[in-house]
Symmetry: D3
């Protein structure tokens, strides 16, 4: 079993705000992230797939194909977007676009498309919000 | 003459839009950056001051003081903010918050405060929008 | 289960020396690190906590809280310190402050404080001594 | 159990080409990598060993020894080499030097030498082809 | 005057060899780089243009246009290529593809195209061969 | 004129202390850096030489030679050392080993050796104390 990772970046806006709370409570819980004018990040997304290298090509998956899948399933929805306003899974206050939730959402977006590839499967998602903060998710498998 | 640089980061939203233009022309000029819902970046700011090291302390300027100046003059206005909506120099469509204009604006914010320090002077501002794009400004001196 | 990581840095001095050995044997075992005048590093510490994101905030833990815990439990003891002389777990030759032992010591310092947070638990510590050398520790769980 | 990693780099040429295929099929499968004049990369290799720190030295393994093992077992064969022409495991079209296969080959080169060290064992190989693409291998153990 | 930089990467093979010299002299002058099977690098190219930001767009040059110029003038000739065999300025032993000469060659390729842009001019080229080695060139202007 | 840079790293201890001052004044001026037990850093040194590439080799200087010069003139004195206690220019409180003073001292150590090389000359020294703090020095030439 080999684990192959492709990294991509996207630039997006977001804010943290719970409509059910007062402004004070939002400020207390979310600090400067509660500014509803939004702020933004250069996010880095690492997509790891697991599988056996093909005996002829030596590829677990074709990296060009994986790049296109990431572009189509994640970047087209998140890059140069306001996550709270434009990404369906976060819109209308459904879910806050924290680093944790972005990692889960990227997993959910990528898992069916990567599984289609026959043999390989999605193994791990890592999302960096800044160089100092990142979240990892492995789906049902749980453990790192 | 020694050149001493301190790096800082801020996370902000922005978009590019000219009210005097049609939506088509904005899209043509600014591409995905014309999305008025905004997107954002982790900006890196490098502030370089020039001077002679103090013979006793060995400092061109006190780096803790320089950190506080950057925090007060730039980060308090830009970090976790929407540059088009909240930074006075960019608000109300006065000026687009491009990497180039952010570098000039940061110079204008920092130059008086750094000059106050006696001896040292602001020498160069570098602003990274992403790891692949950055702008430098040296004020009146022009040349790199 | 989501794994959330916060990175921090500290600058410290250390040396490797075993009082029970001759100078020759220390030099042989530890090379340039046996210089008792000490040398130092900018260490990078990555603290990973595991848990479910809170359904309202989307946080596994509050990252500001985690930053304060790291500051209080680790950085206050290690940053701008001489590890052999000032950190209790390494003082008086008890234990050598190798990258491996610093990772275990940081785990022992952080594990009770992070467990207090209710729900989340400490999952992994990674310590970089330089960009080319790092150690990871996961406590009782053993495996990466 | 502690996991200790040492990073090394090597610069090498390679290309992807299957002699059993037409030029068209090679171009379709491998794109620009099918150029038989070759292209090259600065590869980064991360070698992780697992073990208990020695109670006296605090080392899982001696990092200088590990550096020498990596130099002797991997870098002497790959650094400043053409992988398809000079590395025995890839020569004569036996196996394509993809990131995945380089990770497995580095494991096979390092595993016996590291196991000789008594106590510690090879735990994980990570190979970066560029900063955006990397493969991991853990031998028989399979899972990350 | 603002200096705007765009970074790009390319992966290429090269070797150092002077046909007028014996194998021994080549080995002495060029060490492992004299291996005519070639080795390769991930090169990083930084292209800096100088000019005044347009008062309406805030751009010194359009970064998408600059990306296309770099792609057309440099990357199409160097990326996934063997520099000694495929780049006309280095082919047939005319010139060795050292970091220094690649910086000059990239300048010569880019300078006319960037000058066409009206107003802005090419100001500086920086080429990294590895993270530890880079060359800068400023054309006629000479000084950094 | 081409500018060629070679990067090197060294790990050292230091502290800031002025014997002519009280402990209070030292603490006020130098904060945590006044801890006389010392702390340390992984310093990065960038050495830039200027010259014309040799028409045959394409080298401004031989990079292996430059590596040896840096090793002999700077790293042998600073790496795995306590700068205040072991580097002659800083010993006995003569001069504080600030980033600024280390840049000047490295220039003074390297300038005669590099000038010996015939043709090329030392052009710029950059010293990083951390990734966020660095100093540059260009000798008599002053300006960046």
């Amino acid at each position: 079993m080999i684990f192959l990772t492709r990294r991509a970046t996207f630039s997006a806006s977001h804010y943290y705000w719970n409509d059910a709370w007062s402004a004070e409570r939002n400020a207390q819980a979310f600090g400067r992230c509660a500014n509803r004018n939004s702020h933004g990040h250069n996010y880095t997304l690492e997509v790891t797939v697991a599988g056996e290298p093909d005996p002829v090509t030596g590829f677990v998956v074709d990296l060009k194909w994986l790049k296109d899948v990431i572009e189509r399933e994640v970047l087209s929805a998140y890059d140069h977007r306001h996550l709270n306003l434009e990404a369906p899974e976060f819109a209308a206050g459904k879910l806050l676009p924290t680093t944790e939730n972005i990692a889960i959402a990227a997993w959910n977006r990528l898992q069916p498309a990567v599984t289609d590839a026959g043999g390989a499967r999605l193994s791990r998602i890592r999302v960096y919000e800044t160089s100092d903060i990142f979240a990892e998710y492995r789906g049902e498998r749980g453990e790192l």
